[in-house]
């Protein structure tokens, strides 16, 4: 039975190599037999705490159905300079609207998106597919059998959501929007 800090170190090593969200199950598989879920969760809490201390450039986040080790946002300028990438293009208003529709109403077809937005969104959907934020989830069994779209795991990672249930509810969103509107 490994010590908790040993388990934390092991989990950190796995997360550092994974480069993407890792499920608790996968971490347990890596740890081998005899490690309970609760204990692994405790170990992850330890990893998180260690990185929340000053001096760490990383953080442990719960995102995309798993745990992920990532850089802290405050180092964005340094990381960007180092990687030499242009700041990742922000999504356009059309992209955000379409993504919001897909996120809340998935799986959904293009005609349904068009109806809700009042404009043809085919090009926007294409862009969202290119950016891997949405994927095809099959076909709707109606006339014309249009393709159905759903959000991807990349979507959850992009917006820092542990899972779809973490999307703010429409009521919460309405409240925030209402507050914004009442501001001068």
């Amino acid at each position: 039975m490994p010590e908790l800090h040993e388990l934390a170190a092991m989990a950190e090593a796995i997360l550092a190599v994974a480069g993407e969200p890792v499920t608790l199950e996968a971490l347990l598989a890596g740890a081998g037999e005899g490690v309970e879920r609760e204990r692994m969760e405790q170990a992850l809490e330890l990893v998180k705490q260690r990185h929340d201390q000053p001096g760490s450039g990383l953080l442990l986040e719960r995102v995309g159905g798993g745990f992920r080790l990532a850089t802290r946002p405050e180092h964005e300028p340094a990381v960007r300079t180092f990687l030499g990438y242009r700041s990742k293009a922000r999504l356009s208003q059309a992209g955000l609207e379409t993504l919001a529709i897909v996120a809340y109403r998935q799986p959904i077809t293009l005609p349904e998106v068009n109806f809700l937005r009042g404009v043809n969104s085919a090009a926007v959907v294409r862009t969202l597919i290119e950016r891997k934020l949405i994927v095809v989830a099959g076909r709707k069994q109606v006339v014309g059998t249009p393709l159905l779209y759903r959000t991807s795991r990349e979507f959850l990672v992009h917006f820092g959501l542990p899972d779809l249930s973490a999307l703010p509810t429409p009521e919460e969103v309405a409240q925030v929007a209402g507050e914004g509107a009442s501001a001068p």
Partner: protein
């Protein structure tokens, strides 16, 4: 064109400088919110003016977008005309109902979109840690869960294109259907049977051009071998072939 700059002509312009709209629904929502117009009492003329303005400001008239605005303008007119008619009974839906529902839904969409924009903003600079590991496979591995029909279809296209590149279509060679040797024997048989054989009519009535050519070569070969003679009375007249009596040297004919 700078969206903040309106045309220089003196035609009266709406007082508000319109921001860029995502479409007619977006513009309508903006008017309802900004001009404090009652959602139940949308001034049709004003909206149509604004639609016109939005279209005018497009650098190039996009027919599809124009169509989208037109559909909404027509709908608004329909609502207006219906609301002028007396309702037949209580069950008749308010003609404005659907539009109001659409606007409310769209407003929710916009609110969710700005919520998402806010979430994304918090994530700038959050990059995945990815340390090299000798065991880690390359990045080309896909998460099975995320593989969709589009990825599948694209993979097929890629395979087929690569296959085509690596296997360029071969030069089309017609299979050899007629051999000269075969035709020599066949033609000699005809000449010996007919004694005076009309070569041209025979050659020109073959259904296959390749057969005609082979026959002509066979005829020339018979002349060269001295096993047949050719007679022609005038240019372009029929060529008659007659046997010389010399036997066909079968073993020297080759396989061509």
């Amino acid at each position: 064109m700078d969206p903040a700059v309106l045309g220089r002509d003196d035609a009266p312009r709406p007082a508000v400088v319109l921001p860029v709209f995502e479409g007619p629904l977006d513009l309508l929502l903006h008017l309802v919110r900004e001009d404090k117009v009652s959602i139940w009492d949308i001034p049709i003329a004003k909206v149509c003016d604004q639609y016109h303005e939005a279209l005018r400001r497009m650098e190039e008239l996009d027919l599809e977008v124009a169509g989208e605005y037109l559909v909404y303008a027509a709908w608004l007119l329909l609502i207006k005309s219906r609301s002028l008619l007396p309702r037949r009974d209580e069950d008749d839906k308010d003609p404005r109902q659907e539009l109001v529902e659409r606007l409310i839904e769209y407003e929710k969409v916009k609110a969710s979109a700005s919520e998402l924009a806010g979430l994304a903003e918090l994530r700038r600079g959050v990059e995945a840690v990815r340390l090299a590991s000798p065991e880690a496979p390359d990045d080309s591995e896909l998460i099975l869960e995320e593989v969709d029909v589009v990825a599948l279809g694209r993979a097929l296209q890629a395979v087929l294109e690569r296959h085509q590149r690596e296997h360029p279509p071969a030069m089309q060679l017609e299979p050899i259907r007629f051999s000269v040797r075969e035709k020599i024997i066949e033609l000699m048989g005809l000449i010996e049977r007919e004694r005076s054989f009309p070569l041209l009519s025979h050659v020109l009535t073959r259904p296959d051009r390749l057969e005609s050519v082979t026959l002509l070569i066979a005829a020339l070969e018979l002349l060269r071998l001295g096993t047949a003679r050719a007679h022609q009375r005038a240019a372009f007249a029929e060529i008659y072939m007659t046997p010389t009596g010399k036997p066909l040297p079968l073993e020297n004919l080759g396989d061509a």
